[in-house]
């Protein structure tokens, strides 16, 4: 038989053990009685909220720490929500705690009914989610930016699809023309990612013109000085080169077995760097200036003039079509990098 003295002893050691266990829990814990007075608290609680044991135990929760727990959201939780349910998981409370600062706390509450007693106690735990909330907010911003870029990219695809000619062409021809343009953009975009650095002109020219060379000497490339390009320049120049090659294949030098395309470039340093890219065709059919500007030609104009701030000067010599593109390198790349433009360092375009 257990006498009263033994029972007290067990309860006392039991309590000490329970306190020991509670103290090892890294999350701040409070035990409240039904009147919302603090019966017990663990070390993490004292440490986190910078309070002492003597000023905590026995106090009403709203009087604790000069009333720092008298929070409207917590009052609502304790008086309205808790009585209706046995447990609340991670209820978010935002509060500026004196001496601790603004914090986002996730409060979890459990009501515990003691079997021998009509009274109830409540276990409250607090997880400091301030850092997590910051990270989540940051993620939201980045995610929003990503979504915005994605929509922009979809708009671009839509524009290409909408503007690829449909009059007098078969479905297959339309598909090939559209996919050709899309692939040029995808390839150019991809080069901005490879190696994490900028792409460069030589790689872009080689890669873009590769599919158009029916024989090894149909297209010759005479590389000039190295020209690093940012993603925007890569995409615009890539598409412009693709359009030039497409036109050459349809109407120009590449439409004949004997025809040749020659690409070279120079960089002028006088007053800001200027890239001059020269595309010349020879050995093709006779050339005459077109009566109307095709979409491909307008695309080249837009890509170079609108997007890169450059100039396109075509010459329709009888020996073959020739075009010179003058593109300022200082006014775009450098300025954009200096301004830390919307693409940022991760080159998300």
């Amino acid at each position: 038989m257990l006498n009263l003295e033994d029972l007290y002893r067990i309860l006392r050691t039991g309590h000490v053990q329970a306190q020991g266990i509670v103290d090892t829990v890294p999350v701040p814990l409070l035990v409240l009685d039904s009147a919302l007075c603090i019966q017990s608290a663990n070390r993490a609680f004292f440490r986190t909220f910078k309070v002492e044991r003597y000023e905590t135990i026995g106090k009403h929760i709203y009087d604790l720490g000069d009333g720092q727990w008298d929070i409207a959201e917590l009052r609502l939780l304790l008086t309205d929500v808790i009585p209706k349910t046995r447990a609340i998981i991670e209820y978010k409370v935002e509060h500026d705690f004196p001496g601790v600062g603004p914090r986002t706390m996730l409060v979890t509450a459990h009501t515990v009914f003691s079997p021998d007693d009509v009274s109830t106690t409540m276990l409250l735990s607090f997880v400091d989610a301030t850092e997590r909330t910051h990270r989540e907010a940051e993620f939201e911003v980045r995610f929003g930016e990503l979504r915005h870029r994605m929509k922009n990219l979809l708009g671009l695809v839509r524009a290409l699809a909408n503007q690829t000619r449909t009059e007098g062409v078969s479905g297959e021809e339309y598909r090939d023309a559209f996919l050709g343009r899309l692939t040029a953009i995808i390839d150019a975009n991809e080069q901005g990612f490879i190696g994490g650095g900028d792409g460069n002109l030589e790689k872009l020219v080689v890669r873009t013109l590769e599919p158009f060379a029916a024989s090894p000497d149909a297209i010759t490339i005479d590389p000039g000085p190295p020209v690093p390009l940012d993603p925007k320049q890569l995409m615009s120049l890539g598409l412009a080169l693709h359009e030039l090659a497409t036109n050459a294949l349809k109407y120009g030098a590449l439409s004949k077995a004997s025809g040749q395309v020659h690409v070279r470039w120079v960089v002028e340093e006088a007053g800001g760097r200027l890239l001059r890219l020269i595309w010349s065709e020879s050995g093709g059919p006779g050339v005459s200036p077109p009566v109307s500007t095709g979409y491909g030609t307008q695309l080249i104009q837009f890509a170079v003039a609108y997007d890169l701030g450059g100039k396109v000067e075509p010459t329709y010599a009888t020996t073959g079509f020739k075009v010179e593109m003058a593109i300022p390198l200082t006014g775009t790349t450098q300025q954009r990098l200096k301004a830390g433009g919307k693409d940022g360092p991760d080159r998300g375009r």
Binding site: R147, H148, K151, N152, L154, G155, L156, V157, R158, A159, L160, N162, Q163, S236, Q298, L299, F302, A303, Y306, D307, Q335, R336, A339, G341, K342
Partner: protein, 118 residues
């Protein structure tokens, strides 16, 4: 009466798309231009019936232009990928309809026609 629309959009393919889309539907397009400064100087030459504006122009926001258009009583619509452009570009964009991006032709035409009426 001739319908004119000023297009401000920094992405050249999208600018071209909007231009051709609207030209096919009987609008005369002013621009397109990619910057606030270019758009401002076009306004000195001619006031459009309406304007269609992208919000984020790469290195700048369209906000100063929207303010200028408001003071000139030129109604404008936005073609922005942002769900709530006014959070990015300020209150002056709050009342402007957003035709979205990618921009659906049908919605664009309805919104611009409504701007003409008002």
């Amino acid at each position: 009466m001739e319908k004119t629309v000023l297009i401000v959009e920094d992405e050249y393919l999208i600018a071209m798309d909007l231009k051709f889309m609207l030209e096919r539907r009987g609008w005369r397009v002013i621009g397109p231009v990619a910057t606030v400064a270019e758009a401002s100087s076009l306004l000195e030459v001619e006031l459009p019936s309406v304007a269609l504006l992208d919000v984020n122009l790469g290195n700048e926001l369209v906000t100063p232009l929207a303010e200028e258009l408001s003071s000139l009583d030129v109604p404008f619509a936005l073609a922005s990928a942002y769900d709530r452009p006014e959070l990015v570009g300020g209150a002056v964009l709050g009342d402007a309809p957003n035709v979205g991006k990618p921009t659906a032709e049908a919605r664009l035409l309805i919104v611009l026609a409504k701007l003409l009426e008002d």
